[in-house]
């Protein structure tokens, strides 16, 4: 049973390391440059091939240039060797290279540690439930590798994996205690690399034809809202984002300068709600119009857009309240009004002349608005696939193509209004949302992105006009999927409307939402709430550390007791025999350790003749149960023990 010791890696342990490398790096294929995945795959294949053919591993003179080439490639691709993406890429390359250097157990330990480390890097890209499950399985595999490495060939794959699963399960209580009680630190410890929040989708702060219709093709969730009371009707749900006032002929932009303060008159009682914003790397909160009562670190600007001081780079919750009937800036700064009348000269001559015609005819502003909306309602088509427009985009849209998405309608309407002398501007944001009946949340997706117009009317202030509603009322009342004909490039998730699909989707989203709220959203604030519920209202890190210490020691003690002091289950026949011996001991007959049952029976006959028969039967039954051929003689023994009393 004994083999000479060695720190060398045994051949059969190597496939475990290949599996570890594969499981911990494979999901990175999704967001890595293809050449990098190809390189890593090739290295893994090479290592496997060498192992399969039992050939020598390549020497240093071939590995060093390879490392150099990998680093150079990463440097060219990412322009740095550090930072999030480049760092992950480096780790993947190191992992693949290390497989060509597996000589001793120490190399294998490096692979395993690197594997555990790589597991963390996946969370940079996704913290969804499937990612969590995949990583849990990978963790078991890596742990199995560790067990196989240290157990040697005596631990079979089955045994290693089962043992690894057991160990991971036993680690779960520690994880829970630490997760709940480890002092949470909010915010980055130091400046994050510039690519830390790359690749987030969301509303941009400019609008040009196509920018919102592209967004509308994504089913990603922009934010979730939970109202304290009932959900207001859909056509009132305007989530306000950036307000765009300057126009250069194609693109609408925010005004960069200082804005005068806003003045809002509330005409209805405010409704309060909590919104959970997905990261979009911008400042605005996408609050319901018109926001009042804002959370700390956020403010309203002169265009009624609620914004956070820091860009929202991670999922964040805000408590807000809003008034749905309001009056906004009834007296407006003249500079702002002038800015909202400006149009690029020379562009869109037809639209401008139409506007000035209306103005010259002395129509009231209200009539002009109605006329414009009536124009849209007559023969315009609402579509995600409008034709490309040229230099005079607004003219082409209004007088030729007449096909467009909300951004076209909003832009054309604002240009027309400005030409007619009414101050107007474009507002970006989201409209509507989908109510999930399972958890009561309102889900707003990127496909709900919207743009509308705002005109300033004397005495009424800024008034929201949604020209899209004139073309396609269903867009505002029920949602984008109803407004667009089938076959438009909407995401399948938004388009499939069969009941069972919808129920399934609601369920999945409700699970995801509670995952986000309860698990991922567990932060400093929630930790405080939990502790005050535990009776520690203002716990500092010292309290937390001692609580942690107590809980962890309790767990260690429980686990130790459970794993170390599990006695093997005793033979039931033996237990019955012990019971009979205890009966005898009460009658001053002790069984000597060397005494056989029959010898004891003999002695019982001498000392207690009245017990002799019963004990003789007992001894026979015991011998039969322990050494007899048939399997189940316990019944006779049990009866004999019972008779001894």
């Amino acid at each position: 049973m004994s083999t000479p010791a060695s720190e060398a890696l045994d051949r059969q342990a190597t496939p475990w390391l290949f599996a570890t490398a594969l499981a911990t790096t494979a999901p990175h294929v999704l967001h890595q440059p293809p050449w990098l995945s190809a390189l890593a795959g090739l290295l893994l294949f090479w290592a496997t091939w060498l192992w399969w053919r039992d050939q020598r591993l390549p020497g240093r003179w071939i590995l060093l240039p390879l490392v150099g080439a990998g680093c150079a490639g990463i440097l060219i691709e990412f322009h740095t060797l550090f930072g999030r993406d480049a760092g992950v890429a480096m780790l993947v390359v190191f992992m693949a290279m290390k497989l060509l250097e597996l000589k001793s157990r120490r190399d294998a330990m490096v692979v395993v540690t690197l594997g555990y480390f790589l597991l963390l890097t996946h969370y940079f890209y996704s913290q969804s439930i499937p990612t969590g499950l995949w990583l849990l399985a990978s963790m078991c595999l890596v742990t199995g590798t560790l067990i196989r490495l240290h157990g040697g060939p005596a631990s079979t794959p089955r045994h290693s994996l089962r043992y690894a699963t057991l160990l991971c399960l036993q680690a779960v209580p520690f994880m829970l205690v630490l997760y709940l009680l480890f002092p949470r630190i909010s915010g980055p410890l130091w400046g994050l690399p510039s690519d830390a929040h790359a690749g987030m989708t969301g509303l941009s702060d400019t609008m040009s034809p196509g920018s919102i219709s592209n967004l509308a093709q994504s089913a990603d969730i922009a934010f979730r809202v939970r109202f304290d009371g009932a959900i207001p009707p859909k056509q009132k749900l305007y989530w306000r984002g950036p307000v765009m006032e300057t126009f250069d002929g194609t693109t609408w932009r925010r005004h960069e300068g200082r804005l005068p303060a806003e003045r809002v008159e509330n005409l209805s009682p405010p409704i309060s709600y909590e919104t959970t914003l997905e990261a979009h790397n911008q400042h605005w909160l996408l609050a319901l119009e018109a926001p009042n009562a804002l959370p700390p670190e956020t403010s309203l600007n002169g265009t009624l857009t609620a914004a956070s001081r820091r860009a929202i780079t991670e999922r964040q919750r805000f408590r807000l309240s809003a008034t749905l009937d309001y009056r906004f800036n009834t007296s407006e700064d003249p500079l702002t009004l002038r800015r909202n009348l400006a149009l690029p000269t020379e562009l869109n001559p037809k639209t401008r002349s139409l506007g000035s015609q209306w103005q010259a005819s002395g129509m009231a502003p209200k009539a002009m608005i109605d006329k414009a909306l009536g124009m849209f309602a007559s023969d315009f088509t609402y579509t995600l696939r409008p034709p490309l427009l040229g230099r005079n985009g607004i003219d082409e849209f209004l007088f030729q193509s007449r096909r467009g998405f909300c951004e076209h309608y909003a832009a054309a309407f604002v240009v027309l209004m400005r030409a007619a002398g009414i101050p107007a501007r474009v507002v970006g944001g989201y409209q509507g949302g989908e109510h999930n009946p399972l958890d009561g949340y309102l889900v707003v997706r990127q496909s709900d992105a919207h743009a509308w117009a705002e005109v300033w009317l004397n005495g009424q202030g800024w008034v929201r006009i949604d020209p899209t509603a004139a073309v396609s009322p269903s867009r505002i009342e029920t949602g984008i999927a109803d407004a667009l004909p089938f076959g438009e490039p909407l995401p399948a998730l938004v388009q499939w409307r069969a009941d069972w699909v919808r129920t399934l989707r609601y369920r999945w989203e409700a699970i995801n939402n509670s995952w986000n709220q309860q698990v991922l959203g567990y932060d400093m604030q929630r930790q405080r709430e939990l502790l005050s519920r535990l009776g520690l209202p203002d716990a500092d890190w010292r309290n937390l550390a001692s609580l942690l210490g107590i809980f962890c020691s309790l767990l260690v003690a429980a686990l130790t007791a459970w794993t170390l002091y599990q006695r093997p289950k005793r033979d039931p026949a033996r237990q019955l025999w012990q019971k009979a011996l205890r009966h005898l001991a009460r009658r001053q007959v002790d069984c000597a350790p060397w005494e056989t049952p029959l010898a004891l029976a003999q002695r019982v006959q001498e000392r207690h003749p009245e017990l002799a028969d019963a004990f003789q039967r007992l001894a026979d039954a015991y011998l039969q149960a322990r050494y007899g051929r048939s399997d189940n003689n316990l019944k006779a023994l049990r009866e004999a023990v019972a008779q001894l009393r």
């Binding site: 049973m1 004994s2 083999t3 000479p4 010791a5 120490r106 330990m109 490096v110 540690t113 555990y116 480390f117 597991l119 963390l120 969370y123 913290q127 990612t131 969590g132 990583l135 963790m139 742990t143 560790l146 067990i147 490495l149 240290h150 157990g151 040697g152 005596a154 631990s155 045994h159 043992y163 160990l167 991971c168 036993q170 680690a171 779960v172 520690f174 994880m175 630490l178 997760y179 480890f182 630190i185 909010s186 915010g187 980055p188 410890l189 130091w190 994050l192 830390a196 991670e314 698990v519 991922l520 959203g521 962890c552 767990l555 260690v556 686990l559 794993t563 170390l564 599990q566 093997p568």
Partner: protein, 316 residues
């Protein structure tokens, strides 16, 4: 004995455990993180900093889970040694320069196997053992020998890093075991047979000796040579020994005095050991004379061992 020495003895088992079976309890098992464990810890700290910096909720969970795994691994490493029953066994004599093997029996009374146990008596020569659930394993601990005499089994370090390799648990065993080390034999021509110089070749094939009658048994005679049948004819008389013609010619006296006194003692003992082996190989009848010790002529395995033992323990 100073306090430090006492402490060392209490902690690190420098005293003998005797020959009784020994059960490893928690007071005998030490545990510290291994090099792999330190690497793991450093990786965890870096991972925790990463998880905090990027505010990764699941990153926190992963780090905490791995920390829990470390703690669980520690308990399981300890468990791999805990409650192990160790019974010292025997040890076959060897010649100096050879490797002695001390037999230990490890009993696992738990249902789950214990893998990757390392026993090390001599630095750099560990033996790795695995025991199945409810099984036992017989382990031969090798120990190289240099000089003749009794070789005590030094303190044995029983260690394990199984299952995760993040911790090393170990215990010191000091079972009272010793191995007899025979002197290293030096090959040299056998001395002339004595006392009759005209020694003929003994065939050694057996059955060729000329029977020459009986004589009374002397206390030095081996019981092997008693002629039981002949003795049975005279129940009252003394036990008889068969006498062979020429048998006395082959009776070799391996005497300390026959070795060159100019040589040192160890060499002389080695020469004697070589002679014993050569005589035994030739199936001769030989006796051994040492100062203060006399072994009557005889042959066979046991006689050979007795001679070698005398040589091993001989103090000139």
């Amino acid at each position: 004995m100073g306090i430090l020495a006492k402490l060392k003895q209490a902690l690190f088992r420098w005293r003998s455990d005797g020959t009784a079976p020994l059960r490893l309890g928690q007071r005998r098992i030490f545990i510290i993180p291994s090099r792999g464990g330190l690497l793991f810890a450093v990786a965890l700290i870096v991972m925790l900093i990463g998880a905090i910096n990027y505010n990764l909720a699941l990153g926190h969970a992963l780090v905490f889970m791995l920390a829990g795994l470390g703690i669980v691994g520690m308990i399981h490493t300890f468990r791999n040694l805990f409650d192990l029953l160790i019974t010292p066994g025997r040890c076959e004599p060897v010649f100096a320069g050879e490797t002695a093997h001390f037999l230990l029996t490890l009993d696992n009374q738990r249902g789950s196997p214990r893998l990757a146990l390392e026993l090390e008596a001599e630095a750099g020569k560990p033996v790795i053992a695995s025991i199945d659930g409810k099984g036992s394993a017989k382990i031969n601990i090798p120990l190289s020998t240099a000089k003749r005499g009794w070789l005590e089994l030094p303190r044995v370090r029983l260690s394990s890093r199984y299952p995760l390799g993040l911790f090393t648990a170990w215990a010191y065993l000091q079972p009272a075991m010793r191995c007899l080390v025979y002197p290293q034999p030096i090959a040299s021509p056998l001395p002339a047979a004595s006392p009759l110089p005209a020694g003929g070749e003994r065939s050694g094939d057996g059955g060729q000796e000329d029977f020459a009658g009986f004589r009374e048994r002397q206390p030095a005679d081996s019981p092997r040579h008693i002629a039981w049948k002949a003795s049975a004819h005279h129940p009252e008389g003394p036990l008889l020994i068969k006498q062979f013609a020429g048998g006395s010619q082959n009776e070799l006296r391996l005497d300390w005095l026959l070795t060159d006194p100019a040589l040192n003692h160890e060499t002389r003992i080695g020469i004697l050991a070589g002679w014993v082996l050569a005589a035994e190989a030739a199936d001769m009848h030989y006796g051994l004379s040492l100062p203060k010790l006399e072994l009557a002529p005889d042959g066979g395995e046991r006689h050979c061992q007795r001679c070698l033992e005398a040589l091993a323990l001989f103090q000139p």
